[in-house]
Each structure stands twice: as structure tokens, then as C-alpha cells.
């Protein structure tokens, strides 16, 4: 096993108690560089808790989070993250929103702004750099939010249901777009979602979580060839994975409801 590369992101026995409730049971997972991981599970399965612990905005009750072997437990700003809400500043232009990280550190330099413009141009928002967010559609706003995350130059990106508020057609387009960005930028992605289809479509591995207490139920490898097109949704392996994940999610629910 000595040939295994060092994992990009590693959780070791991470847990979290809220009062006396175990929101996240001791959880361990290793994620490789450049990997696309999706986390699915019903509400209360601890995925948001895990997300906040990795993001460093929530202190775990026990365990450690490492990036490149460095302990980053409880330290914010070590990974880039993005939520369902785009959280763009309405009084700032698209470009300023992309460069927000630098602005918060003092001032965005000319070079950083040029990099922001380039990012916007590369991903189809070049004509909108001087627009205010209110003038953009929901999908465009989420793209700006992702660019803001990319401009932070963090190797690990945490995305918490970033497309959850979009209509299903925009969402599909955004998934395709995200995969192209991921391929071009070579970042490691942890993507939290409710949507099983979305998880399988995007992921190298799908982490299925279940509630009471929140924990990892299983980790499934998705061996569908990339680049993935629409036809993936009807591939036998896709359906088989979907069936298995649904079994985890719904059977768990039935048994706990009956109890």
C-alpha cells in the first residue's frame, strides 16, 4: 500500500455532537487529488455538518481534517466553498464579485482583476463583467459564485447543493459546465446534493450517508466513461447505481419510520 499517493483531503474519525445529539458519528474518508466526490443522503444525515467541518466554519467534537497531510481542523479559508445561495454582493459588479477574496484581503490588484476577467471570458460571462448580479439569471449567478470560489486558488472545492435552486434544464446545463470547469482546472471537488441522478452523473465516487446518527453508509465507485453526455442517464450501470443508492436512502427511512 506504500504506493498509494497521499490523499488530497483526509478526514480521520471526525464527529460532532450538538448538545447530546450525535449529528455526525466518527467518520473517516480519504479523497484523492483531482477526484470528484458527491455526497448524497436524506436531511439530517450529517452531510451539512461534515461540509461545515471541512470548510472549517464548524469545530468537530473529535477527529482531524487534513489537506495534503496538513492539519486544517477548525481553520476556515483552507478550502473554497460555495452554497445553494449564490451570496453575491448586489452592490458589486460581476468582476468585483469574482475578485471578492482579494478585495476582502485589502485590494484586488490589476493582475488579479485581469485574471478575474479572463476567468469570466473563459466560462462565458465575458460580456457581463460590469453588470450587477441583479441583472443576471439564476444560472449565471451560480457561475459567478463558482468563479469567485475558483479565484480563491484553493485546491479543494466544497459545493453544497450549488444547483439546488435552479430549474431542471438550467441545472443540467450547469452540471455539464461544472464538469468542463473541473476538467480544465484540475481541482478536487466535494459536492453535496439531494439529487441522486446529479450525484451519479458528476461523481467519481458517491458517498451515501444516512441519519440517526449521521454517518457514511457506503461509498460507491462510478465507472462511467468521461466525458459524460445525456446518454449516461440511461446506461445500465447508472440505473444499477441509482437503484442501490435508493435502496440505502429509502429502506433506511422505512425502518426508522416503523421504529
Amino acid at each position: 500500500m506504500s504506493e498509494t499517493p497521499q490523499p488530497k483531503l483526509k478526514l480521520t474519525e471526525v464527529s460532532r455532537l450538538f448538545e447530546s445529539n450525535l449529528a455526525l458519528a466518527p467518520t473517516s474518508i480519504s479523497i484523492n487529488e483531482g477526484e470528484f466526490i458527491c455526497v448524497v443522503g436524506p436531511s439530517g444525515c450529517g452531510k451539512s455538518t461534515m461540509f461545515n467541518i471541512i470548510a472549517g466554519v464548524l469545530q468537530p467534537s473529535s477527529g482531524t481534517v487534513e489537506v495534503d497531510g496538513q492539519d486544517i481542523t477548525g481553520r476556515a479559508g483552507q478550502v473554497g466553498y460555495m452554497l445553494q445561495k449564490d451570496l453575491l454582493l448586489p452592490w458589486r459588479t460581476v468582476l468585483d464579485n469574482i475578485c471578492l477574496g482579494s478585495i476582502l484581503h485589502g485590494k484586488a490588484s490589476k493582475k488579479e482583476r485581469e485574471a478575474g476577467v479572463e476567468l469570466a471570458e473563459r466560462y462565458g460571462l465575458g460580456d457581463f463583467i460590469n453588470h450587477y448580479p441583479a441583472a443576471l439569471s439564476g444560472g449565471m449567478r451560480q457561475r459567478v459564485a463558482l468563479m469567485r470560489t475558483l479565484a480563491m486558488h484553493r485546491d479543494v472545492l466544497l459545493l453544497d447543493e450549488p444547483f439546488g435552486a435552479l430549474d431542471s434544464m438550467t441545472r443540467m446545463a450547469m452540471q455539464q459546465w461544472l464538469l468542463s470547469v473541473w476538467k480544465a482546472e484540475k481541482r478536487t471537488v466535494v459536492f453535496v446534493t439531494h439529487d441522486i441522478d446529479e450525484a451519479i452523473f458528476l461523481a467519481d465516487r458517491v458517498v451515501v450517508m444516512s441519519p440517526r446518527p449521521g454517518r457514511i453508509r457506503d461509498i460507491l465507485a462510478v465507472n462511467l466513461a468521461r466525458p459524460r453526455g445525456r446518454d449516461v442517464y440511461t446506461a445500465p450501470e447508472f440505473l444499477q447505481l441509482k437503484d442501490q443508492i435508493m435502496t440505502y436512502v429509502y429502506d433506511e427511512k422505512d425502518s426508522s419510520d416503523a421504529a
Binding site: 466554519v57 477574496g101 484581503h105 441583472a135 480563491m152
Partner: protein, 268 residues
């Protein structure tokens, strides 16, 4: 939230028609019912009075306008500062909020009398009254704005490496501008009233409010109405001034793209 767009000629023409209608109704009824001039002067009488006492009225307009302007700016800034303090500390908020509420229950005119005793007949008591009028709505609205900033946004800003100053400067402060300006718009015309009330208590400065009092005590109805006309203009100017500043400071509320004159505009 944006008002329905209408052509410019219409948004100018309609108020002009409405204004002309009121003036002619006034003029018509004064003539028709043969109302004596000392009861109700006609618009022509008022105009004649303005022409004959032009210099004094213009002088008074400037005095009252300066009382409004300085008091308004002082009140707005101190209200803003107070809201920031109250947002920063729970203790300060807990102590000051009840005092603020009670202070609002005291009529301005009563405070005005006391201020004359403390501060004399000059500019100072007027500024305090005007500032007090603006102060409370600004505190309440700015505090609201500060507290309504999305906690996820603050968390994100912190995780992006913002310190408390840069987060205040770039995230919280701009979020207060919209509620701040709605407070300022509401209090603009009323702070002109505040200036007039302050001048009534006692004044050696000769503002429009003082002019009004003098004309009134001499049963000079034309003079009274001339002063009222000036005050109406003053209130309008005050309101438009706030609108203008709002337009310049918050371009994102009215435009889809940052204006070219802004330093935020990026020229490729």
C-alpha cells in the same frame, strides 16, 4: 420594486398640470367668493409680495436651508455611527434602545424650548432639532440593515479571509445603504419642519420660519403665504437632494450595469 417606466414628457407634464390646477382653483375661488386679502390672498398677491420682499425671503431661505443641510448631515452620520455601535455590542444595544424609544415620545417642540434655554438663539439649537428628527429613523433602519445581513454571507466572507474591518467595509456597510436612504427620504421633508419649529421657539437668525412668525403676528397674510411657498420649495429641494445622492451612491438599484463614471467600471 422599480416604478413603472413612463415617458419623460409625461412625468413632467402631469405634475405641472396638477400644480396649475391647484393654483387656478385657489385663484378662482378667491376671486369668485370675493375673499378679503387679509383672510386669503390670491396667488397674484403672494407673487407680488415675494417680488417686493425678494431679498429678505431669499436670505431666509438660505438660512433655513443651511440649518436643514448641516443638521441633516450631522443627524444622519451620528445615527449611522450609533447604529454601528449598537450592532457591535449587545450591552450598548440593550441600554440605548429603551432610551431611544422614550426620547421619541417627547414632542420635538418641547425639546426645542429647552434647547433655546441651553444653546441660545443662534444656529446650534436648530441643528440639534433637525439632527434629532433624522437621527431616530436612521438608527432604526441602519440597525435593521446591519442585522439582516445573511449569516451565511458573513461566514463565507470570513472563510475567504476577511477580517472584521474588511467585512464591515465591504459586506455589512453597503447593505445598510438601502434602508439608510429610505430613512433619509422619509425624514428629509420633516427635518425642514424641524428647522421651522426650532426657529419659532426663538430666533435671531432670520430664517423662513422666523419670517413666517413675524408675518403671521402682523396679520400679513400675503407674507405668511410667501413663506409657506418658500418652505414648500425647501422641502422639495431637500427631498430631491436625498434622491440625487441616493442615485449617485447606490447605482446598482437603478441600473443593470455599473456606470462608466464609477471607479468600479472595468475598461478592457
Amino acid at each position: 420594486m422599480q416604478p413603472e417606466k413612463q415617458p419623460l414628457w409625461r412625468s413632467i407634464l402631469y405634475p405641472v398640470i396638477a400644480f396649475a390646477l391647484v393654483i387656478s382653483l385657489w385663484w378662482g375661488s378667491v376671486e369668485y367668493f370675493q375673499v378679503p386679502r387679509y383672510v386669503m390672498p390670491s396667488p397674484g398677491d403672494v407673487w407680488a409680495h415675494i417680488m417686493s420682499d425678494y431679498a429678505t425671503l431669499w436670505q431666509g431661505f438660505q438660512v433655513t436651508f443651511m440649518e436643514f443641510l448641516i443638521g441633516f448631515v450631522v443627524g444622519a452620520f451620528s445615527g449611522f455611527f450609533m447604529a454601528v455601535l449598537m450592532d457591535a455590542s449587545k450591552t450598548i444595544r440593550g441600554v440605548l434602545y429603551p432610551i431611544l424609544i422614550v426620547s421619541q415620545a417627547v414632542p420635538i417642540i418641547a425639546i426645542s424650548a429647552a434647547l433655546t434655554i441651553w444653546l441660545g438663539f443662534g444656529l446650534a439649537p436648530k441643528l440639534v432639532i433637525v439632527a434629532l428628527v433624522v437621527f431616530f429613523p436612521v438608527v432604526v433602519n441602519v440597525l435593521d440593515g446591519l442585522r439582516s445581513v445573511d449569516s451565511d454571507l458573513l461566514r463565507l466572507a470570513r472563510s475567504m479571509g476577511g477580517n472584521s474591518w474588511s467585512i464591515f467595509r465591504h459586506v455589512k456597510m453597503p447593505a445598510t445603504l438601502t434602508p439608510l436612504f429610505s430613512a433619509l427620504k422619509l425624514s428629509a421633508t420633516f427635518s425642514v419642519t424641524g428647522a421651522v419649529i426650532a426657529e419659532w421657539s426663538a430666533s435671531t437668525s432670520g430664517g423662513i420660519g422666523a419670517y413666517l412668525m413675524q408675518a403671521n403676528s402682523r396679520l400679513n397674510t400675503s407674507g405668511t403665504f410667501a413663506a409657506i411657498a418658500y418652505l414648500a420649495v425647501l422641502g422639495l429641494v431637500a427631498f430631491l437632494l436625498v434622491i440625487l445622492v441616493e442615485y449617485l451612491v447606490t447605482p446598482w438599484r437603478t441600473k443593470p450595469v455599473v456606470p462608466r463614471w464609477s471607479t468600479r467600471f472595468w475598461q478592457k
